[in-house]
Structure formats: structure tokens, C-alpha cells
Symmetry: C2
Subunit: 295 residues, 2 copies
């Protein structure tokens, strides 16, 4: 299989598992609508980067990637929960997500809050109930996953992001820390979970996390750059929104050229970490694809 075929097969497996895990084996019409709201956002697509990283790390380190179906599905649910809640009127107030009405526009605000809530909890049950992982593996995965989502992870990052919006003196260090929490943590834990499913050593897991944090940061800086260099058509969402919202980004701090240089340096670091943890050619191609993207 070449890179594109492999990527397509991971994505297909991801989507089949999301369907399997969020099914309609429940009792009432109201609960059924909740499952619909969850599926609506789960099926909205996106790049499925996080589950792909889980599978790719598992396979790169000699594991059978189907062993990682539970954590791969879990991380995509957590990501989806964060998108649903971020779009709420009290948060970023976005009416559209990937060209479709956002969850609260389609199902109402109360149902969107509850769909996000259900998607924040279901992942832990899916991992605990998995038929192939050992109890020790499950506990290690859940411990890392909960930390990467919580106060000092993704949710903490969202809180810092909100606080930064009211400031004009955000430093590079503070911006890096916010990106690390908000985006880096979920990407790093995806890599770590794939490693755990392959029985990798702590040293390998640590290098895989380094890769994940570098990838996450470079990904965000590219986002900053695309917001000023892309077109709304190419990007699939309005460009120039960072400037309109007075956000501090790597571009507002350093300009496009220097931001691109920083992104390239961080990408080089990511590739070094990949070498250290025995990353595959697939992972190298994936990294290049994500950082040369146009949207």
C-alpha cells in the first residue's frame, strides 16, 4: 500500500469504529436524538489526524493497529466534544463547522451541551470495555488521556486562549504554552496511546510525545500563516479572522516569513523525534503532508 492508500484505510477504519461505538442500542426517542446529535458531529469529517496517529504509531512500532481501535475512537470523540463546546454561543459562537451548521444550530444549545458531555465520557468507557487491551494498558491509556484533556491539557488551553483574547501583550512563550495545551496535548497523547498498544518502552513513548508536541505546534503556526495567506475558498472558512479578533499569533508577533521559518525548524525537530522513536515512512509522509497543507 502506498501512503495515500494507507491513509485512506486508517480513515475508513476510524469511521467504521466511530459508528460501531456510538450506536442506537438505547431506549427512548429523546436518547436517540442525543445519539443523533453525537453522530452528526462525529460524522462531520475532518482530517481524523488523531486516530490516524494512534494507528500509525502502533503499526510503526510493530503492533497490530486493530489493537488500538478503542483509544483511536476515544481520541476522535474527545476532539469532537471539544469542537461542539467551542462552537457554543457562550464560547466562540460559530454557526458553521466544516461547511455544515454547528451542532447547536442543528440540535439546539441544550442538546449540543449534552452531546458534548456524552462524548467526553463515552471514550473512557470504550477503553475500559475493550476486548483486546490488558487492564494495565487500559489504565495507562486512561491516565494519560484524562490528563491531556483536563485542566492542564486541552480544556486548560481553551481557558488560556479565552484569557489571551483580552490581552495585547501575549509573549511567544505564552503563545507556545497555550498551543501546547490546547492542541499539542491531544496530538501527543494520540502518539503515546499508539505506542502503548504496541508495547513500546517509556523511552519510545517519550520521544513519540516530543514528536506530537512539535507536530501540534507546527500545525498551529501553519494555521496562523494560512489565516493571512490563504483564500476563504481554499481554506473552507473565513480568512483574516485572527486579525479581526485581535488575536496574538506567530504571524502578528513575527510576520509571515519568520513564522514560516519557525514552523520549518519545529518540523525538523519533529522529524528528529520520529527518528528517535522508530517512526515509519508513513509518519514522515504524514508530517510533511500536514505541514504543507493549504487548508
Amino acid at each position: 500500500m502506498n501512503f495515500n492508500e494507507k491513509l485512506a484505510s486508517y480513515i475508513e477504519y476510524t469511521e467504521a469504529n466511530l459508528k460501531k461505538y456510538n450506536n442506537h442500542d438505547i431506549s427512548t426517542a429523546a436518547q436517540s436524538e442525543l445519539v443523533d446529535a453525537m453522530n452528526y458531529s462525529l460524522e462531520a469529517g475532518g482530517k481524523r489526524i488523531r486516530p490516524v496517529l494512534v494507528y500509525a504509531f502502533c503499526e510503526a512500532l510493530g503492533g497490530d493497529y486493530t489493537r488500538a481501535a478503542a483509544p483511536a475512537s476515544a481520541i476522535e470523540m474527545i476532539h469532537t466534544f471539544s469542537l461542539i463546546h467551542d462552537d457554543l454561543p457562550a464560547m466562540d459562537d460559530d454557526d458553521f463547522r466544516r461547511g455544515k451548521p454547528s451542532c447547536h444550530k442543528k440540535y439546539g444549545e441544550a442538546m449540543a451541551i449534552l452531546a458534548g458531555d456524552a462524548l467526553s465520557v463515552l471514550p473512557f468507557g470504550i477503553i475500559a470495555d475493550d476486548a483486546v487491551l490488558t487492564s494495565d494498558e487500559k489504565v495507562r491509556i486512561i491516565s494519560r488521556l484524562a490528563k491531556s484533556v483536563g485542566r492542564s491539557g486541552m480544556i486548560g488551553g481553551q481557558v488560556i486562549d479565552m484569557a489571551n483574547e483580552e490581552r495585547t501583550d501575549v509573549t511567544e512563550e505564552q503563545l507556545r504554552y497555550m498551543y501546547r495545551c490546547k492542541t499539542g496535548e491531544l496530538i501527543a497523547v494520540s502518539c503515546a496511546m499508539g505506542c502503548i498498544c504496541a508495547g513500546a518502552s517509556d523511552e519510545v513513548i517519550s520521544a513519540a510525545c516530543d514528536y506530537g508536541f512539535s507536530l501540534g505546534l507546527a500545525f498551529q503556526i501553519i494555521d496562523d500563516i494560512l489565516d493571512v495567506t490563504s483564500t476563504t475558498e481554499e481554506l473552507g472558512k473565513p480568512v483574516g479572522s485572527d486579525e479581526a479578533e485581535n488575536k496574538t499569533t506567530f504571524v502578528t508577533l513575527y510576520g509571515v516569513d519568520k513564522a514560516r521559518e519557525i514552523a520549518d525548524n519545529i518540523t525538523a525537530q519533529a522529524m528528529e523525534s520520529l527518528d528517535k522513536c522508530g517512526g515509519s515512512d508513513f509518519l514522515r509522509e504524514l508530517t510533511e503532508m500536514l505541514l504543507n497543507r493549504k487548508n
Copy 2:
């Protein structure tokens, strides 16, 4: 120790552990405010019924109740997360909770959403990171906990409750099912988790869950009754709110006397289940206290 001393000691232990688990070992002022918002709601008090049940079942079945600190803290955090989100403007829109401004009135709506989110995820990490439970025990606890919170548990119950508000033809069976999901599941899983920490058999766990579901249902019917028979002063919240909101309750279905009779029958069932699973005198007294309460 008599009943009241024992109850006070469980509650004291609960509150000390909540403080310990939701501490300020994080980096930024924004994250610190998130922890404050979480603690604000965690410290708002309440009866601490769920952690008390975890400890009391563990001890009744011959276990050391301090082994159950992680699941007991976890269940109170989950309960608190549900109260924060239920109070949001898009949900029940309550400005007060236990006589204090609700989380979103104090910290703003975005922070309240995120504080609830963080309290929905932290519990799973606390259980996974616990130093005394085995991996097998942790996995069994997390599996049950996630189910009791999710689509077919507490969150599913809230969805049914919202749907019922728009209906005038809710049957007793449907009302019972809604109460079972919304309240019963968290109470039953509290009992089950205490049993697991004591190494109890599946048969005992099953009887303990039966007790929990009966207690939860009786508790809700008493709530229905107090809403029409109590005073605002005694109850600590406005009475008559069910009627004002056109809610179907056991009182609107059957009147106060018949509702009281049903609650008494369910209490008798709860006591039978307690006998079956080897429940203690403390648990019997706790059951009576909860069902003879005035608020």
C-alpha cells in the same frame, strides 16, 4: 461511633479528598481561575450522598473505606459537573444553587461550561492514577462509571427530562425510567464502586445496585412531594416549581398521599435489597434519614 459521627466523618473525608484532587498544581492564572471555578462548585456543599454511599458500602462489606477515596471523589465530581451544566441558561437557567450564585453567574458562562467539562474528565484520571486499587478494579469501576454517566445514564436522563417538559402525557413508567437514568444510575454506581473496592461478588454488587436504584427513585418521589408540601424556607429553594413548569411528577399523577405510599413501598424494597447484599446498620439509618428528610 454513632450514626451521626460516622456520617460526619465520611463527609469530612470526602471534602478533604476533593480539595486534594482538585489542587492548584498548574501553570497560569487562567488555569488557576478554572480550578477556582471547579472548587467553587465542589465546595458548595450538598449532602455528599454519593461518596458516603461509596464509603459505607465498602466498609459494610468488610473493606477498608480509605481504599475507595478515588471513586468516591470521582462520583462527587461527576455529580457537580452535572449540576453546573444543568444550571446553564440554555438548560434549566438557574441563577442560584444551594443559596449561592450558580457557577455561570459567578464565573461567566464560558468558564462554567469548561469547569463542568474538566469535572467530567478529571474523575477518570483520578481513578486510573490511584495508588491502592488494582488495574482490574480500576477498569471495572471506570467501565461502570462511564456507563452510568453517559447516553443511557445520567446524561440520557437529562435529555428525557427536557423532552418530557414539552409533554402532558408522560406515564408512570416513563417517569420511572427518566428518574432511573437521571438520578438512579449515579446512586447505583456509587454502591457498586464501594462493593468493588471491598472485593465483593457480582451477586452482591447486583443487589447493591438494586438498592441504589430503589433509593434513587424513592428520593425523587420525596422530592416531588416536598415540592408541594414544604415551605420555601424549609426546602431552601422555591416550592411549587414543578407545577409552575407543568412537570409530570408522582404527585401530579397520583396526588400526595398515594405518592407517599409508593415511596414507602419502594423504601421497603430498598431495605430488602440491603439485607440481600449484607448492608450495615449505618446504611439502614442513612436510607431512613434520606427518605424522612424535610429538604
